[in-house]
């Protein structure tokens, strides 16, 4: 009546996008930024945000040309069906892989910090099942859950920042702008991929009630995420200094260990602050699982995506088990990044736009 189970409002889309983008970035971002530019890392983050805005501009332009289609359909329309399906399968593999790697990193971290003796398989499987439970409820449930999780994730982050501020030494950010420009650019190109989940926008158009404001929303969210990322990087650098930020695998978790909340009931907040992180990873993995099953549904042209959720679990789970250790996981992510990540953010959408323009496909809403 008021809401079909598979349509979400623009605000819910914004929140989901926020959760997805923020979760990928938040943990590793300070380290990566410091690796590229030491104390100037925050500049990289600003630059990469602009890069992400550019990507999202292209993607949303394409998506709003075909407001009723997902990537699967409009790529088939533009580049003939076989090519479209191959591209979609490609996207499918990529999201599978990303989700699996996220899951693996997540498992490693939970094992390391919370449950040292529990098999990582159990940690990963339980997370997958809970995600699958959500995915089976439809995209709208995801949108609604996002609205609640937003606070679960946002409040801890804000409180971390508030409590860390007194121990932040902003002198650690000095000297400003000593990093060469080439390094800054390279770093921002690299960090731009923390925003790679904007490629979900290729598929959400038919899931949104009114896909017209897609571009505006995407810009808003990316701007917000970028802003918080910058603050987070500044604070992390301020607390640890650039050298130690580089040394830690998960500097934000380290940040959580530094906080001492006066009069707190709990002795150590780090494990509690994991809550915010687990929720954000959860939203990420469920997003991956959803879109993986969604792409398959669209390729196979089935109506109901519910039945295709469970078959996806073993696929993602097995991919996640491939790397031997955390180093290999991070390595394979890097390989993926070098060869694949850019493709759906920039080249493929661009080609699609050009061909679509030549063949005059899709709605041209830009005209006034």
């Amino acid at each position: 009546m008021f809401s079909q189970n598979n349509k979400i409002s623009m605000r819910q889309l914004e929140i989901l996008l926020f959760l997805d983008l923020f979760s990928t970035a938040v943990l590793i971002l300070p380290r990566r930024a410091a690796e590229f530019a030491n104390q100037d890392g925050w500049i990289i983050v600003i630059l990469s945000t602009f890069l992400a805005l550019f990507y999202s501009w292209i993607i949303t332009y394409l998506a709003s040309r075909f407001p009723k289609d997902t990537f699967v359909e409009f790529s088939s329309k533009i580049l003939s069906k076989p090519v479209g399906i191959i591209l979609s399968l490609f996207l499918f593999i990529k999201i599978c892989f990303n989700t699996a790697m996220e899951l693996r990193i997540f498992g490693e971290l939970v094992k390391q910090i919370l449950l040292p003796r529990t098999p990582i398989e159990v940690i990963m499987i339980s997370m997958l099942f809970v995600s699958a439970y959500l995915v089976r409820q439809g995209y709208e449930a995801r949108g609604r859950l996002g609205e609640i999780l937003f606070f679960v994730i946002f409040i801890p982050i804000i409180s971390i920042l508030l409590f860390v501020l007194p121990v932040t030494d902003f002198r650690n950010l000095k000297p400003i702008l000593t990093t060469p420009l080439s390094k800054l650019l390279k770093g921002s190109y690299d960090l731009g991929f923390t925003f790679s989940y904007i490629e979900f926008l290729l598929m959400v158009a038919p899931l949104v009630k009114n896909p017209k404001g897609l571009k505006k929303s995407a810009f808003k969210v990316i701007g917000m995420v970028g802003f918080i990322n910058v603050i987070l990087v500044i604070v992390t650098l301020g607390v640890f200094g650039s050298i130690e930020t580089k040394e830690q695998i998960w500097p934000v978790i380290g940040l959580m260990q530094v906080i001492e909340i006066p009069g707190a009931f709990l002795e150590r907040q780090d494990a509690l602050m994991m809550i915010f992180w687990i929720t954000s990873v959860f939203s990420l993995i469920s997003a991956g699982l959803y879109f993986v099953s969604f792409i398959i549904t669209r390729i196979m042209e089935v109506e109901e995506h519910k039945f295709l959720v469970f078959p996806m679990i073993p696929i993602i789970y097995l991919i996640a088990l491939i790397p031997d250790n955390i180093a290999e996981t991070l390595d394979s992510i890097n390989i993926m990044k070098n060869y694949f990540r850019i493709s759906f953010l920039f080249p493929i959408p661009l080609i699609l736009i050009i061909v679509a323009k030549i063949r005059k496909l899709g709605e041209t809403i830009e005209k006034k």
Binding site: M1, F2, S3, S9, R11, Q12, V110, L114, L115, T118, V122, I123, S126, M127, V130, Y133, L134, Q137, G138, A141, G143, R144, L145, E147, I148, L149, F265, L266, E267, R268, Q269, A271, L272, M274, I275, I278, T279, F282
Partner: protein, 527 residues
């Protein structure tokens, strides 16, 4: 095989008078004696059926028949308005019986009965149903029509104080079992012709009266249609309480959370109706169902609007905290003590560890044991009559609070945990929601016991996912915390916090979109 089937078929009640919906199929006849015969067949062995055939007219040539169920009627009405009129007055009308003989039916209907509540029915089924509902039927020889005289008046316990949903400030009336009384309680609060009372009958055998109450121009049409559709969606032999209806029309039977609110308070029902919700009143049940429902409605007490906003906002907030506590505290305790003791402050850790030293069970068993003991106490306390029920509390308190600790069966901290949980669960205003949280508690305990804080979180996520996927008649259950944009975030004003009453000047989501304004203040303060 066939034989057995036949044998079974023989066991079935052979009934040529009723159809499969238990409706009487016999037609009314013009002949009074035949009708009486049919009625006697139908009411065979019904000792409570009072019948009388009597002739009227000076020559006693016209036969009439009245029938009713003993004590379901108001005897005074029958005697004063009916029998006296018919038997005494009609006889003394005029000798020219023949004149009116042709219009005797109209004559009696219009002039012979001194009460306003007179109906005419043309089937035996309706007549029988009227008798069974406490009305009196009047049959006249030569007419295939039945006059039904409203004489309902059975014993009931009157209007009493509500025994749940007690408030400090506000009306102290509660709904009672009689449907008509309940509609009156609401009608007295909303004197508007647009307040509709739509009556239905559900139950093949019980033929329970059900009334849908709503304000015509505020209620959302689609919800009303959906409610009616669902009410007509099932056939059941009997409805004994509104709880039966609730379970038959709710959206998700697997959920431990109630998706329809029941209330005993007429003021609560009236305020719900004013918000555009639909009240379902079921005869013989003091609980009125309010549809649709969001989780927020369960956290509201009618008192919230009678007391000042600051204190009620605070209370609301406390109630939400209590709900979370009642589901989460035992699980959280297990996750912390068994998995992450480093999060507990050092002195407390040492105190807990020292107090657990001699306890033989793992803490999961300890917590579950105590929780179950508490559930037992609660159940025993409800079932036992008042004075004995109190002793259960004392015995339970002593045994569980003190003896168990001294015997080192449980550690004192677990007693604290369980009592905090229990107190929290009592602080939720609606009992049916409490049940949901009580069950969820065990789920979270299980998750926490296996995976510690991570499991605790997963358990919480599962509950949240379930809650956000629930809907009550199309409205998201977690509204206004999710999808609040549908109503422009308006409903958040009356959610965790209740803002001052002049700010809540629009109706919530339940109302029709163009009927939102409910409060206009002419001269605002300070202007």
């Amino acid at each position: 095989m066939k034989k057995i089937k036949n044998w079974f078929n023989k066991l079935k009640w052979e009934d040529e008078f009723h159809d499969e919906d238990n409706k009487v199929t016999i037609p009314l006849s013009k002949n009074l004696d035949e009708n009486i015969k049919n009625l006697e067949i139908l009411f065979k062995d019904c000792g409570d059926f009072v019948k009388r055939k009597f002739p009227i007219g000076i020559n006693k040539e016209l036969n009439m028949f009245i029938g009713y169920i003993d004590l379901m009627i108001d005897r005074r009405v029958i005697e004063e308005s009916l029998l006296e009129q018919l038997i005494l007055q009609v006889r003394s009308v005029s000798p020219s019986m023949d004149k009116i003989k042709s219009s005797i039916y109209e004559f009696i209907r219009d002039g012979g009965i001194a009460t306003a509540d007179v109906k005419e029915v043309e089937t035996l089924d309706e007549a029988v149903l009227a008798v069974l509902s406490g009305d009196t039927i009047l049959l006249i020889d030569g007419y295939a029509k039945v006059i039904v005289i409203g004489t309902k008046g059975w014993p009931n316990r009157g209007i009493q104080n509500p025994d749940s949903e007690v408030v400090v400030r506000g009306p102290k009336e509660a709904f009672s079992e009689a449907l008509r009384m309940n509609t009156v309680l609401i009608r007295r609060r909303i004197r508007d012709t647009k307040l509709k009372v739509k009556q239905l009958r559900i139950g093949n055998r019980s033929r329970t009266d059900i009334a849908l109450m709503y304000i015509e121009d505020i209620v959302r049409k689609d919800i009303l249609e959906e409610v009616e559709k669902r009410l007509n969606n099932f056939k059941i032999d009997g409805i004994l309480d509104s709880g039966n209806i609730e379970q038959l029309i709710e959206d998700n039977w697997k959920s431990p959370f109630p998706q329809i609110q029941g209330t005993q308070r007429p003021d609560k029902a009236s305020s719900a109706i004013l918000e555009g919700r639909i009240a379902i009143i079921v005869d013989n049940s003091p609980f009125v169902l309010l549809i649709p429902t969001t989780i927020n409605s369960f956290f509201k007490s009618s008192e919230d609007y009678y007391q000042r906003w600051s204190i009620m906002s605070f209370t609301r907030f406390i109630r939400y905290i209590a709900a979370i506590f009642s589901a989460a505290i035992p699980g959280f305790y297990i996750a912390l003590t068994d998995y992450h003791p480093s999060m507990i402050p050092t002195p407390l850790t040492m105190a807990i560890a020292a107090s657990r030293e001699a306890v033989p069970f793992p803490s999961v068993v300890e917590v579950v044991l105590m929780e179950l003991a508490f559930e037992l106490l609660r159940e025993a306390g409800i079932r036992l009559p008042g004075p004995i029920g109190n002793t259960i509390g004392i015995v339970g308190g002593i045994i569980i609070g003190q003896a168990a600790v001294e015997a080192k069966i449980v550690s004192p901290i677990v007693v604290i945990i369980v009592s905090v949980t229990a107190i929290s669960s009592f602080a939720i205003p609606d009992d049916s929601l409490t049940v949901g949280f009580r069950l969820i508690k065990y789920l979270i305990i299980a998750f926490s016991a296996v995976l510690g804080l991570y499991g605790f979180l997963l358990g919480g996520l599962v509950v949240l996912i379930h809650l956000v996927s629930l809907k009550s008649f199309g409205i998201p259950y977690m509204f206004p915390y999710v999808s609040s944009v549908i109503n422009n975030y308006y409903d958040l004003k009356d959610s965790i916090f209740r803002l001052p009453i002049f700010m809540i000047n629009k109706r919530p989501i339940f109302a029709r979109p163009n009927e939102k304004i409910r409060l206009k203040i002419k001269n605002k303060k300070g202007e």
